[in-house]
């Protein structure tokens, strides 16, 4: 495939990205199965042409948008971000995408909107994981509007200068690098602007383990495991663990969003 020629971004980390092999063969995408290699094995069946994203709710220009409408080729940037999974492993991924803020400005967010809700495709005939009710499909996620408008937040349509592989959330997905990976919802078919806080799928599943905010935070443990350290994927058999950084190392840019909030309550 030809490269996407995305512009480099000053918001990228200078850490070395994981290999394409790592990034595309170690995925949590339960729509294709709960194993880490299930998405790579099963996602080939997903058809992503003729994709449209419904933009609904408190917006001036609701409607059905194509991927190219939301993320036109000439606007694509490369964002090399750390990814920290709630399961205490991490990677570095060179995403290609556009700031979500630009997309939201394009559709015109109304002043009463306070939150953005996202939904993943439901298509059990192509997504075998959805044939069992392991989660309450469709997968849903949400952000506060100021989080959604933050310059670090992007809608990604590719990685490693290639169109997004299906197992990574083709054709368009969210990436919020200071939050645990499950916030970065994949294969988005709906973006809904609303006044009240939406309920995200994992919080609905187990509210004491997964919150709405899900900011990476080494001082607030998951009830079943510590979040103090993380295992770096690709580090080898004896690569050890590294200390997890507050807000996944993006604290300088995002900590002010949560000023005055008790993060052990709003986890």
């Amino acid at each position: 495939a030809q490269g996407l020629n995305a512009r480099p971004s000053p918001l990228s980390t200078d850490e070395a990205p994981n290999s394409f092999e790592d990034i595309t063969n170690y995925n949590n995408f339960y729509e294709f199965g709960t194993g880490k290699t299930d998405p790579a094995r099963n996602a080939g069946a997903l058809t992503t042409d003729l994709w449209s994203v419904e933009v609904t709710g408190l917006v001036d220009r609701p409607g059905s948008y194509g991927v190219d409408d939301l993320a036109p080729a000439n606007a694509l940037e490369e964002r090399i971000y750390r990814l920290r999974c709630v399961e205490a492993w991490s990677m570095v991924v060179p995403w290609i995408g556009v700031p979500l803020a630009g997309v939201l400005n394009k559709v015109g967010v109304q002043p009463s909107a306070k939150y953005v809700e996202f939904e993943t495709l439901v298509r059990p005939e192509e997504m075998p994981g959805q044939r069992r009710a392991i989660l309450d499909w469709p997968y849903r996620e949400g952000l506060r509007l100021d989080e959604a408008m933050h310059p670090l937040t992007i809608l990604a349509t590719g990685l490693y200068d290639q169109p997004m592989p299906n197992q990574n959330g083709a054709p368009i997905r969210l990436v919020v690098p200071w939050k645990y990976g499950f916030k970065s919802i994949k294969s988005i078919v709906r973006i809904h602007l609303r006044e009240d806080q939406p309920v995200n799928t994992w919080k609905q599943m187990q509210a004491n383990e997964y919150g709405f905010y899900a900011n990476v935070n080494p001082t607030v443990d998951h009830p079943r495991w510590s979040q103090a350290t993380e295992r770096v994927i690709g580090a080898g058999l004896f690569g050890g663990r590294k200390e997890t950084q507050m807000f996944n190392g993006y604290g300088d840019q995002v900590a002010s969003l949560y000023a005055g909030m008790d993060l052990s309550v709003n986890y």
Partner: protein, 206 residues
């Protein structure tokens, strides 16, 4: 039929079971050196060792119900099955300590007391250790058969703890741990439902 099978089993040397027990480990070593464990080899090694331990645990638990239901006796091999189970459990714990947790003793200690799945796993492992250490003929002689048998009934709570260890470690209800937990539950229940047949009870005192 059953007699012929039992005769054949009697001719099978116990070392064949020991040898079979090394096969999963050899395959794991092979997959490791040929780089065939995928993107996260640490997790693969840890999980495969743990699962193999569980398979041998279930095999050990199946010996008695199998005998009561079919008359087929694998009793000669049960010690080997149990010790192999312990060896894999030990390797599983070592993989966690060295490769997964990278010898961060403080974090491991805090995690074990705080996390039910780790606590279940460690308690189960502690029991298996006691059973493995007392698995020798010498221990049986020293303790006396009755006391030894009573001690080794601890394998039942160990099996329950191991099943809970896996169930509690997953984020959603996954099929595999549920199936193995069910297998353990059935094997334990069979001991209550299918009592020891009269013929196998100790001979009446003269």
């Amino acid at each position: 039929m059953v007699r012929a099978a039992n005769d054949a089993l009697r001719r099978l040397p116990v070392w064949a079971v020991w040898l079979a027990g090394t096969i999963p480990f050899a395959l794991l070593v092979w997959d490791t050196v040929t780089n065939n464990l995928g993107v996260d080899p640490v997790q693969q090694i840890e999980h495969r060792l743990g699962q193999t331990a569980l398979y041998f645990l279930v095999a050990g638990l199946a010996v008695t119900p199998l005998m009561r239901l079919t008359g087929l006796s694998l009793m000669r091999f049960r010690r080997a099955i149990g010790v192999i189970c312990f060896a894999y459990a030990l390797a599983h714990v070592l993989a966690w300590v060295v490769m997964d947790m990278a010898l961060l003793w403080g974090q491991m200690g805090r995690d074990i007391v705080k996390r039910p799945y780790l606590l279940f796993g460690m308690l189960g492992f502690a029991i298996l250790t006691i059973l493995a250490v007392t698995s020798t003929n010498l221990s049986i002689r020293r303790m006396g058969g009755q006391a030894w048998r009573r001690l080794h009934k601890l394998v039942y709570p160990a099996a329950v703890l191991v099943a809970m260890h896996w169930l509690w470690a997953t984020k959603v209800n996954e099929v595999q741990p549920i199936l193995w937990a069910s297998a353990i539950a059935i094997l334990l229940a069979l001991r209550v439902v299918v009592r020891r047949p009269l013929a196998y009870t100790r001979p009446a005192r003269a």
